[in-house]
């Protein structure tokens, strides 16, 4: 079911696949990460051509905790700095490693990597639509904190136009029977037609609003995202929407009891620090699940579970 699969989009996985991944993650957490050197002798390559903190380091940590060796492509000091193409670089990594994790500024590069490489490829964030492993972590966090994903009401707030974590989370939710999803964003950051069409075709109950306070009152999960400054073609457009929404303790005090606030991090100014020490805060827990979910994922793909 999972062995040697590429992980390009969360939409490549059905509910059964995801449930299996989550049970494996539960097992890893129950054993306090001590699952033995399941991947002894294996090599995992990371090729992060775009900045990353959590994704790259959690993949590296996950691989090392499983006993694998990790090699990292450093684009600024590799032949890519001399002008070598991504395609040729991938061919080389495919010769060296058993699994390749890629993040590139070019949209669709993970799919291209999967076409080029014989070994499995994991998309570590690609373009504006796909960050499948982040979605796996987000869904796992909800399931863990709420005991279920089905029947819950979700609010996804922020940059729904350029934010790949938000898009992947939304796609991931379509694999479950959620009650409703609120899409909350100022008009310039509202979702692209491609995303809306796909969500509609998957039969989800979707509500769009610019009114954050109204939406917050009814949701069980509030998923906040950063405005993706680096993806705006025109910096002036970014300045127009910068700071257009900020989640504060005051705003979420109107929420129903048990609300959990998620954020894929990093945050800039869209999520106030005064939420950090409230019971609503779930983003640091979410970040902590990055390693066990990715441990489960790598193990399943390399056939260790």
């Amino acid at each position: 079911m999972w062995k040697f699969r590429d992980v390009i989009s969360i939409l490549d996985f059905n509910r059964e696949d995801l449930e299996h991944l989550f049970s494996m993650t539960d097992r890893i957490l129950e054993r306090l990460f001590d699952v033995g050197s399941l991947l002894d002798g294996k090599i995992v390559a990371t090729a992060f051509i775009e900045p990353s903190t959590r994704t790259r380091l959690s993949f590296e940590t996950a691989a090392k905790r499983l006993g694998a060796e990790v090699i990292n492509l450093e684009p600024h000091i590799s032949s890519m700095a001399k002008g070598e193409s991504l395609t040729d670089t991938l061919r080389m990594l495919d010769d060296y490693a058993d699994l390749i994790v890629i993040r590139s500024p070019y949209e669709g590069s993970a799919k291209h990597a999967a076409d080029v490489c014989e070994h499995p490829v994991i998309n570590g964030g690609d373009g504006t639509q796909h960050h499948p492993t982040q979605a796996m972590i987000d869904l796992y966090t909800v399931r863990r904190l709420k005991g279920r994903i089905d029947g819950l009401e979700f609010g996804v707030v922020g940059d729904l136009k350029y934010g790949r974590a938000a898009a992947s989370f939304l796609y991931g939710l379509t694999r479950f029977n959620v009650k409703r999803i609120w899409l909350i964003s100022p008009e310039p950051l509202s979702p692209r037609p491609e995303l809306m069409d796909r969500l509609k075709s998957l039969g989800v109950d979707i509500m769009k609003t610019e009114n954050l306070e109204e939406a917050v009152e009814g949701v069980d999960i509030l998923y906040v995202t950063r405005i993706q400054k680096e993806r705006f073609p025109d910096p002036a457009e970014y300045e127009k929407v910068r700071g257009s929404y900020v989640i504060t303790r005051k705003i979420i005090s109107r929420a129903r009891e048990g609300l959990k606030v998620l954020h894929p991090l990093p945050r800039v100014d869209e999520l106030s620090h005064d939420v950090d020490d409230t019971p609503y805060q779930a983003y640091f827990i979410q970040a902590k699940f990055g390693v066990p979910v990715r441990m489960a994922l790598i193990s399943l793909i390399l056939g260790a579970f």
Binding site: T87, Y106, E107, G108, G127, Q129
Partner: protein, 158 residues
């Protein structure tokens, strides 16, 4: 067509006749077929001739060349009304229907400058899936961006 126009586009002995092309798109059809003129075939192009069905239409005749199915299918992108006749010894031996292929590879350009297919160093051919036939809407298989009919026509006719 009246007599004068019939004279303009006389019968061919062997080859392909692409008829009922929307007016003004004959050159784009040739481009899409990969016919540049340097192949040596005799090519006759008639543009903006009268048509009972379309009002005005274009027509292309290529002598001694029988178009392949995949070449014909590409035509639906810009000439969904086109009819294709294969001619042998002055007779129509086959009428080919134009059918939109499932994927369009390498002809069109993704509008997203950040798409992997737009990076000259990477040599990745564009690939589009058909989302809707009418109006035509394609989706880039790599970055997921839509390509609308208007843009398809623009790319193929300019």
């Amino acid at each position: 067509m009246d007599e004068q126009e019939t004279l303009r586009v006389s019968k061919i002995k062997n080859g392909t006749v692409i008829d009922h092309i929307p007016a003004g798109r004959a050159l784009a059809v040739l481009r899409l077929m990969g016919i540049t003129g340097s192949e040596g075939h005799v090519v006759t192009v008639a543009m903006n001739v009268r048509s009972g069905k379309l009002g005005k239409k274009d027509l292309v005749k290529v002598e001694n060349l029988e178009l392949k199915a995949e070449q014909v299918n590409k035509l639906t992108l810009i000439a969904p009304t086109a009819t294709i006749n294969i001619i042998r010894d002055y007779e129509v031996v086959e009428k080919r229907n134009v059918k939109l292929p499932d994927k369009i590879v390498g002809i069109l350009r993704c509008t997203n400058p950040g798409c992997i297919t737009r990076q000259p160093m990477e040599h990745v051919s564009s690939r589009f899936l058909i989302v809707s036939k009418s109006p035509l809407r394609l989706e880039c298989e790599y970055c997921g961006r839509y390509l609308e009919e208007e843009e398809v026509l623009k790319q193929l006719t300019q």
